[in-house]
Symmetry: C2
Subunit: 261 residues, 2 copies
DNA sequence: CGCTGTCAAGAGCAGTGCTCGGAAAAGTTG
DNA sequence: CAACTTTTCCGAGCACTGCTCTTGACAGCG
């Protein structure tokens, strides 16, 4: 271009960068499409190149390797799930702790059912020699952040740490140190541990349903899985000391929630 | 074959069958070795053939396809895990319900940590177009059988169905029909649902630990994971109404279990 | 000797990830 | 405009995979 813009990135250079980003996005989109249909193991760089009408070696100018492509898809999946959980949980009245919990759980399960292969990519078997490359840990923490935030608000609405009536063994208290550094000192150990248990139970349940492990255990008629999941969500909430009906349960004993219909 | 031994299996035929079974077993052993080191995605029929010193096409006389080999490994893994859970749970005094529960949980986690790739094969992402070929469902049910058996004995040691004080919504009751047909009518709905939740939570926790999802949440110092898991097991037991100390808890309120150390 | 059944080996096909050299296009400078 | 540099792209190629098909070797039996 003209010599008036020699040093600063010329507009043409910017245009190149733009088309480059555009092509990269197209590659990622195609990859996501293939992932949705064929699963992670069926993701082929050559197939993507064919679909985009370019040579297989050309895509290596945009994506370093198949592993890097997988990593980008993983980050995208974590972000999509985290964003879904955040927005759906944020749409609920802050006082309605049980509603927020149910919204977060529902977001996770709904997104997983809508994007099973993406869910399997991030919560299923990790690829063999693959170690999460640090770019994934931040998006991966988004959904657990939402859940820990609820935990924090549960603790804030409670009268007191309840002395030390039923506490956690000291070695477990030590094991919970990383989670404690995230959630802060306000959440009692018991609640923190119970929250992590509910967190693992939530994803265990979703994975079981998605990976076919509930076959022959929970019915597959329309509505069965929904009913089972909804009741589980209700019970996790009860274990955390929050119930759908009121905002501040007085007694520990959870009243049986009435179904809305 | 010759017409002198047309009907009854000749001794030679038997010998052939024997060596055939022998080679098949060697193939499976080599496959299991490769699976343990390289994971399921890295399992190569050609590599197995090389290791056994035979041509790649020769193994197709013993194993129909890679998928069939995977299926056999899956069945073997389910059997190994189920057997571990059965024996370890059976070694505990039948009256000690909490001990049986802890033994079963510990067996699952211990086997998973010892055989991570085999665990991932059966409880991780299912292979893309793969549907469990009916030969896998029986071995797959072994570990859940153990857990349901404990549930049944919990119900048997209880005073009564506790009226219908806190029951389960009717749609969830319907969803639990398959599990109910296994466990029998003695187990109340609440306990059945709670048991399935603990089941999912157990495998969710094990999967989280194995797949690296606990990173940054639960400590990785020696003993941390053990303490976290042990406390989770204790709390699941408490949610099922069994505590390590006594055999029959009177009140619903779970007493805080004392740690053995 | 021939016949039959089982087995193994080899070549081959279609596909994969990935690398490399050269060609072509695009942008920059004299 | 011409020359130069940078960026992009394609094709060939390597090593690997699952799987098939043809060929050949071996045994037992008539």
């Amino acid at each position: 271009m003209s010599q008036t813009e020699r040093d600063r990135p010329s507009v043409l250079r910017a245009a190149r960068e733009r088309t480059r980003a555009e092509i990269t996005r197209e590659i990622l989109d195609a990859a996501r499409r293939h992932l949705a249909t064929d699963g992670a193991s069926g993701l082929s760089l050559r197939a993507i190149a064919r679909e985009l009408g370019m040579s297989s070696s050309a895509v290596y100018g945009y994506v370093a390797s198949r592993d890097e492509l997988l990593t980008r898809l993983i980050v995208a999946a974590y972000d999509a799930l985290g964003s879904a959980a955040e927005t759906q949980e944020a749409a609920v009245d802050r006082e309605d702790l049980a509603g927020r919990w149910a919204a977060a759980c529902g977001a996770v399960q709904g997104w997983a059912l809508a994007n099973p292969n993406e869910y399997a990519l991030i919560y299923g078997t990790p690829v063999p020699g693959y170690t999460a490359p640090a770019a994934t840990i931040a998006p991966a923490a988004r959904v657990s952040s939402v859940l820990l935030g609820i935990l924090r608000d549960i603790a804030a609405g409670r009268p007191a740490p309840a002395t030390a009536e039923d506490d956690v063994p000291p070695d477990d208290r030590e094991a919970l140190a990383p989670a404690r550094s995230i959630v802060g000192p306000e959440v009692p150990d018991t609640l923190l541990h119970q929250g992590l248990m509910a967190w693992a139970a939530l994803f265990g349940t979703v994975s079981f349903e998605l990976f076919g492990q509930l076959h022959g255990i929970v019915g597959e008629q329309p509505g069965d899985r929904e009913a089972y999941f909804a009741e589980s969500v209700r019970r996790w909430a009860a274990q955390l000391g929050i119930t759908p009906a009121g905002t501040a349960p007085a007694a520990r004993k959870p009243a049986r929630p009435l179904e809305p219909a």
